[in-house]
Symmetry: C2
Subunit: 207 residues, 2 copies
DNA sequence: TGTACATCAGTGAACGCGCGTTCACTGATGTAC
DNA sequence: TGTACATCAGTGAACGCGCGTTCACTGATGTAC
């Protein structure tokens, strides 16, 4: 993961996906035309259909790529935090801090979340793509629920809370903050909201 | 606002807006075709262009209508709460409870937030529509910031927090919960997340 | 009370363009024997 | 080492349809005098 690692030349398929992701987050899926993608990448239209069976196949590939990248990033962050502190509560609080810092580095405005973008255009996609998007949210729930369970086992919460919805709170906050960040062109919304989640966890569990 | 009030016959323009709102929240703006709208409402295409100068004019009207309805709903809720309790903290906590209950009544899945939907397709809209969307988020910020200021004046927060971003937290949580609700077809996500916000405020300010 | 004109809420036909998709074909590289 | 075939990564031309937009026109209702 070194910054200076030889940059692999990026396959045509990968370049199509990368460009499509940008466009989808800015204009939505329907307005992201194949015509534009091939112009950006420098191939002909039939070249596109060599890589993707049809437009929905592109959407499916886009979602899968996004979910994998996303998982890798979160694994990195929270694994690193877990190494820094044994205690589940403090390890998690450190993880959230690292996560907020990571989101701060995405300078400018956050480009967006593909899973969230799909939700506001869901009639455009086939069942498989919608299922992938739902899967993404459930993966976040499972991940954070797992942390919260271990915390709650050691530190009883100050108020009665449901751990599933408390796990969902971070999804909601991140996706909501991305929307705020885009609407107000404010690069700080995401780290700020993650920090509020961290505060809430602290107040709720810290003895 | 009585349920049994004579239902006004709803002008063609209003019916177009209502249908457009539904479609935009499900498929996005680009895929909401004028053709479909007029078929649903039962006029011809030129009839549509009598009511709206072009498609962006429809978007503008949609946003304005949404923001007005939204403001009215929140005014109702929090004004009612303020009447029930003088203390700024407890008045606000009651308001949040009423708000959560209101969102629980929107049975099924929440249809969505027009201001959030615009953000993920913003290249489709002209500057005026984008500005309206940003205005919507700033109105929420101002509203909640105002409540929080009066609370913080009386009850010092347990952790150092920025009141602007804490006001934005409710926007983020609501828009994020709507996305969750749509993705997972879960009608309870919205009231659950509003309740977490209420918990956070309680833990943060309650002596 | 009647006439003239204006406004409202549309109709009907036509337009051109961009879109996703298909199909037959191709030149370069890889693999089996 | 040479030949035959397969796979990879595309090209080029054509398709038909749906879309947003324009324009000249219309019948019903409202208003001024």
């Amino acid at each position: 993961m070194s910054q200076t690692a030889a940059q692999k030349p990026a396959s045509t398929r990968e370049r199509l996906l990368e460009l499509a992701e940008q466009q989808v987050l800015q204009k939505g899926f329907a307005s992201t035309s194949i015509e534009e993608l091939i112009a950006g990448v420098g191939i002909t239209k039939s070249g596109f259909f060599y890589h993707f069976k049809d437009k929905n196949d592109l959407a499916r590939a886009l979602m899968q790529r996004y979910l994998e990248d996303n998982k890798r990033q979160l694994d990195d962050t929270f694994d690193r935090a877990a190494e820094l502190h044994d205690d589940p509560l403090h390890g998690f609080l450190i993880g959230l801090k690292l996560f907020a810092e990571l989101m701060e580095k995405v300078r400018d405005v956050h480009p967006g979340c593909i899973a969230a973008a799909v939700v506001y255009q869901d009639q455009l996609f086939d069942a498989e793509v919608r299922a992938l998007s739902a899967e993404g949210f459930l993966a976040w729930r499972a991940r954070f629920r797992n942390h919260l369970q271990r915390i709650a086992d050691r530190y009883p919460p100050k108020l009665p809370v449901d751990l599933d919805t408390l796990a969902d709170t971070i999804s909601a906050l991140v996706d909501g903050a991305i929307i705020l960040s885009k609407a107000l062109k404010d690069g700080k919304a995401l780290p700020a909201q993650i920090t509020h989640y961290r505060n809430y966890i602290k107040l709720l569990f810290e003895p």
